[in-house]
């Protein structure tokens, strides 16, 4: 039995998956980002190996992706996260034509052609507005863990309009609204609205074509999914493995190379 690995080194988390020769996932691991992207990638690789009860020699090919992919010293190949997200989304939802990936520090809209190729993409990686960090600011200001933001926002009855674009100023605005007596859920729903509108306009830049698959850590947020469906006017595919889409895509690319018999850079592999 031969295995391949996909490592996605994101801005806030590193993700690793191991796929078997049929492309089925046998293990996954997730790690909050460390200062050193290279060691974070190595750690996540080790933990996914341990999870799968395999050792390095069982992995015939490794593809790294994500913002820190060039810091992965043990990878055989680097593939952009655009390609990997598209590939991962297509694997689970073959009818996907648009991918929206909301990550910790960037948001991507990817348009996929009928042959499954990436035809266009738009990315917001210059400004934290409309990325996961905007919710991070809310989490910080409201002193709530990220996982509780969505459920609380859904309780809102009178969402507050967040007028600032900048994440830094939004933090101040949240506290200001709370000081004026607005309920946390209403302020939070306002934050979700702000992100949804920004992401929807990013999607429109590449052209909205169904089906849409929503990936990235933020897709676990129920309020965000509901709002995006409302703003985009179409249902979204959300995978249970949404955070691993990039890593799964990377794993599938690794499988292609393994099948094609491409040589591995063994000498650089982690021992």
């Amino acid at each position: 039995m031969e295995y391949v690995a996909g490592i996605d080194v994101g801005s806030t988390q590193a993700k690793g998956v191991i796929l078997d020769e049929h492309g089925a996932m046998v293990a996954q691991a997730l790690l909050d980002m460390e200062t050193n992207m290279g060691t974070a990638a190595e750690t996540v690789f080790r933990s996914v190996l341990a999870e799968a009860q395999l050792n390095v020699d069982d992995i015939v090919f490794t593809v790294a992706t994500g913002y820190g992919r060039y810091r992965v010293t043990f990878g055989d190949l680097q593939v952009t996260e655009i390609s990997c997200h598209a590939r991962g989304a297509l694997a689970e939802f073959p009818a996907t034509r648009t991918v929206l990936d909301i990550g910790g520090q960037d948001t991507k809209a990817i348009r996929i052609g009928d042959a499954g190729e990436v035809t266009d993409f738009a990315m917001n990686d210059k400004c934290a507005a409309g990325t996961g960090r905007f919710l991070g600011a809310a989490s910080f200001a409201l002193e709530l863990p990220l996982s509780e933001l969505g459920p609380l926002a859904l309780k809102s009855t009178k969402p507050v309009k967040i007028t600032t674009t900048c994440t830094v100023f939004a933090e101040t605005e949240i506290i200001g609204h709370l000081a004026k007596g607005h309920l946390p859920q209403d302020v939070l729903m306002g934050m979700h609205h702000s992100i949804a509108t920004r992401c929807a306009s990013l999607v429109r830049r590449v052209g909205l074509a169904p089906e849409i698959t929503f990936t990235g850590g933020v897709s676990r947020n129920q309020a965000m999914v509901a709002l995006l469906q409302e703003v985009l006017g179409t249902p979204l595919n959300v995978s249970g493995q949404a955070q691993f889409m990039g890593a799964i895509g990377a794993g599938l690319y690794a499988l292609d190379h393994a099948r094609a018999g491409h040589p591995q850079r063994r000498e650089e592999a982690v021992r």
Partner: protein, 308 residues
């Protein structure tokens, strides 16, 4: 004795200046604006009396400025901060034509004429990248206070480049630099240089007419002043007597005083606070007339063109 108070309610700090009739500063006070700018304004006003041995009854006139200028019920009038900065600057430096004001949550470039009239301005209050918040946040990641920034940065020998535009993303960059062993002073100097670059960019958009002046809290930051002057390749005039951060409040007080002098010269009573007083018969940019009571014929100067 005539005492006039100018209060500048900014996004981050609320500043107050008390002037007497000879335009000498009698007292200054400053507090964080917090989430209730109105109470910060009231507190800073009280602080003036602790700092100067005068009583509240001796204050003739109160003019407010800044984004919270309408939130002060005890004011006589309110003036935009652009006008205040322009007037205060031309009072200190008649030769200045371009003013840069870096605030906590916004940055302004103002071009003025030889009489201190605002000719053009550009403002960024949408993104923290070009404002004091960028530096404050970077300093916070490094465990520095805002007061530490200047002295710390001046020790830098090999500044690094901070390439992130976004103040939030700069955090990751700072952490990355720290992990690779870059000295904190080199990082903070990199942030200063990035901010100076953005500030000069904004000044270019109003025309970069010499001489230049800097206002706002950044005037206390020697490294920042040096970085902007270097980019401009020209000296920066700083308000004297540490009035940099008080420039807006000083301008408001100056205008208030001018208004009082005019009212007294025309034989009017000084109105109680909370009202804008008798109608001015001529419409001048520096005299504040309530829109509803404006005279029908207003042959004033052409309105300002706001650049987009």
């Amino acid at each position: 004795m005539t005492l006039v108070v100018g209060i500048d309610i900014g996004s981050t700090y609320t500043k107050a200046v008390m002037l007497d009739e000879s335009r000498d500063v009698r007292a200054t006070a400053i507090r964080r604006s917090g989430y209730k700018p109105a109470s910060a304004a009231a507190a800073v006003y009280e602080d003036l009396f602790a700092n100067a041995s005068v009583s509240r009854a001796e204050v003739t006139y109160i003019a407010t400025s800044g984004y919270g200028r309408y939130m002060v019920p005890f004011r006589h009038t309110q003036i935009t901060e652009l006008t205040c900065h322009a007037l205060a600057t031309i009072y200190h430096f008649p030769q200045v034509r371009t003013i840069l004001d870096i605030g906590g949550q916004d940055i302004k470039a103002i071009r003025i004429d030889e009489r201190g009239r605002v000719r053009a301005f550009r403002l960024n209050d949408k993104c923290a990248a070009g404002t004091g918040a960028f530096l404050e946040k970077t300093a916070r990641y490094l465990g520095l206070t805002t007061a530490d920034i200047g002295p710390y940065a001046l020790r830098s020998t090999m500044p690094v480049e901070i390439s992130s535009v976004c103040a939030v993303f700069a955090e990751s960059e700072v952490i990355n630099h720290l992990s690779t062993g870059v000295a904190p002073e080199d990082i903070i100097q990199g942030a200063i240089s990035a901010l100076a670059g953005r500030a000069v960019q904004l000044m270019k958009r109003v025309g970069l007419e010499q001489d230049f002046a800097l206002a706002g809290g950044m005037t206390q930051n020697a490294a920042m002043v040096a970085a902007i002057a270097a980019r401009l390749a020209a000296p920066l005039n700083l308000p004297p007597q540490g009035l940099g951060q008080f420039n807006g409040a000083f301008g408001a007080a100056l205008l208030g005083l001018r208004r009082v002098e005019r009212l007294l010269a025309e034989g009017h009573e000084i109105p109680p606070p909370g009202s804008d007083g008798p109608v001015q018969t001529t419409r001048r940019w520096s005299l504040f007339v309530q829109a509803a009571q404006e005279p029908a014929v207003a042959a004033g100067p052409k309105p300002l063109k706001m650049l987009r």
